[in-house]
């Protein structure tokens, strides 16, 4: 059984073909990276998988269920979570609330129960609070639980985004350039964190990243995109020696 199968996925913005015939097969527990120059269509693929855009063509099957045409909240409910290239936290809300919101889709109490604070509400809220604080603990963010998220330092905002994504209890986690803007020390910590998440949360990870240190260090398989097309696929070592990849990254002259 396949975990995630993306087949013949294409998407165009007007005349611009952002993604062309993209195919991806993921097995449970894998860590796969998508790399490519700016504008290669990487983030568009994430947006297609998570329902932000509806693909012009192609099929996305996740755990034997088609995701095409589903609204983002439904896709989150199916077990896919993501982070963003540019941080999109709820800036005015506390660190704790940022994580608590991610429980929204799996919370069972209804509006009347919340309005009257019935036991169904109180019990579930207590559990959500406890689990969110545990998660913050793991990410070293517990001391800032009451702080508005905009006041966190940059690196911790990135981590909070990952925590928020994990709070939806995904089976597949999409990380969009998690190392962007980080210094070498922070990047090292991030790599450890990603490995730890894989082990402890039992998630499959699809990663977009420009930092070659991250990609070559933790990805098991790499797909290389250029102008929406897949130009190479393989293990980190294979990719490093692939002439088409070197050409896409460094230009023809260098080859």
């Amino acid at each position: 059984m396949s975990f995630l199968t993306v087949s013949h996925l294409s998407h165009a913005f007007g005349g611009l073909r952002a993604v062309v015939d993209f195919n991806l097969e993921l097995s449970p527990g894998e860590l796969v990276a998508i790399i490519g120059p700016n504008g290669a269509g990487k983030t568009t693929i994430f947006n297609l998988i998570t329902g932000v855009y509806r693909p012009s063509e192609g099929e996305i099957i996740f755990r034997e269920r088609s995701l095409v045409g589903l609204q983002p909240p439904r896709i989150v409910g199916a077990g896919i979570a993501r982070t963003f290239q540019t941080i999109r936290l709820f800036r005015e809300l506390s660190v704790l609330d940022n994580v608590r919101i991610a429980w929204y889709g799996r919370t069972r109490y209804r509006l009347p129960e919340a309005l009257l604070r019935l036991p169904a509400f109180t019990k579930e809220e207590a559990r959500i609070r406890e689990r969110s604080l545990e998660l913050l603990e793991i990410f070293g963010l517990a001391p800032f639980a009451e702080t508005p998220s905009r006041n966190l330092p940059y690196g911790q905002q990135r981590r909070l985004e990952i925590a928020r994504a994990l709070a939806t209890q995904p089976a597949l986690l999409l990380l969009d350039e998690p190392a962007a803007g980080m210094n070498p020390a922070e990047i090292g910590q991030l790599m450890d964190l990603i490995q730890r998440i894989r082990r402890e949360f039992d998630v499959t990870i699809l990663l977009i990243e420009h930092q070659m240190r991250v990609v070559m260090g933790i990805a098991e398989r790499i797909k290389v995109l250029d102008f929406g097309q897949t130009i190479a696929e393989g293990t980190p070592t294979e990719i490093q020696h692939n002439p088409r990849v070197i050409e896409a990254y460094l230009g023809e002259e260098a080859v």
Binding site: R88, D97, R100, A114, L115, R117, E125
Partner: protein
Amino acid sequence: MAAFWRRWWLVLLLVAVFPLTILLPSSGVINPYLNLVLKYIGINIMLTVSLNLVNGYMGEFSVGHAGFMAIGAYTAAILTVWVFPAGSGAWLFPLALLAGGLAAGVAGLGIAVPSFRTRGDYLAIVTLAFNMIVKSVLENVDAIGGPRGFMGMDKLTSLAWVYVSVILTLYLARNFVFSRFGRGVLSLREDEIAAGLVGVNTRQIKVQTFVLSAALAGVAGGLFAHELQFINPRSFTILKSTDMLLMVYLGGIGSLGGSILGATIFTVVLEGLRTVMQQLGISQEWRLVVAPLLLVLLMIYRPRGIMGLREFRLFVPPEDRARR
């Protein structure tokens, strides 16, 4: 023992004050004019909380909440005057208020479902049109008085009823805000796309919030109708909606404490202005200029209001209070 007081003092205080809302006006300690102003403050608090849910917490922009107020007012008034048996008024009054809220809620549903299919400024345009439609419809239905208005209500809105309604409104609104729904609404305000991508059903929550808001405005409308004992379509124009907007943006968006402040300050200042203008011999018509002008100034210089996105500790449920 200390824990007992910490948990219950507010409830006990509110219960203890209740008899005063009956005794003080009837014994004359609160004179009729002060009584009236207090009732207006209460009704305005309800309206402000109602609008704040949509414009403050959710960050959408409704400009026609007077329409929902009108629906609540007419529904409640028609019930107490025509439907309920004469003399039973005081006992069935809460039922009339609830019916007014329900009718306004249904109207809210009718507005919310189509408006929230798309993002953007649609809600402002749709609610503006809605406000005008409600007024025109009321003016053209002769059975309920047309432009002459509807009357015959008993003075059922006592300070005690206003007191109870305001407390219930604040209680329900607080519970809403400090639940997954409130957090969902706030996340929408911050970043709608990210909200959807962490599992918040954005469309559903917008509709729920709007309906709740409309229903609260409807109940406030019922109280308003039985205070004035005379309502006409001109009581519920865009000017009334502007007053509500002003109270929200004055007190503070996304804040219950702010809603109370905004409604109180606005009501007291406007009443004060009435006296001052009389003394100076200025036409009362000028008061109509004050509210919109203040609104413009506020939106430019202090768009979040006094309490913008902050809350008094009192309104935060104990388990959600920041530990110190």
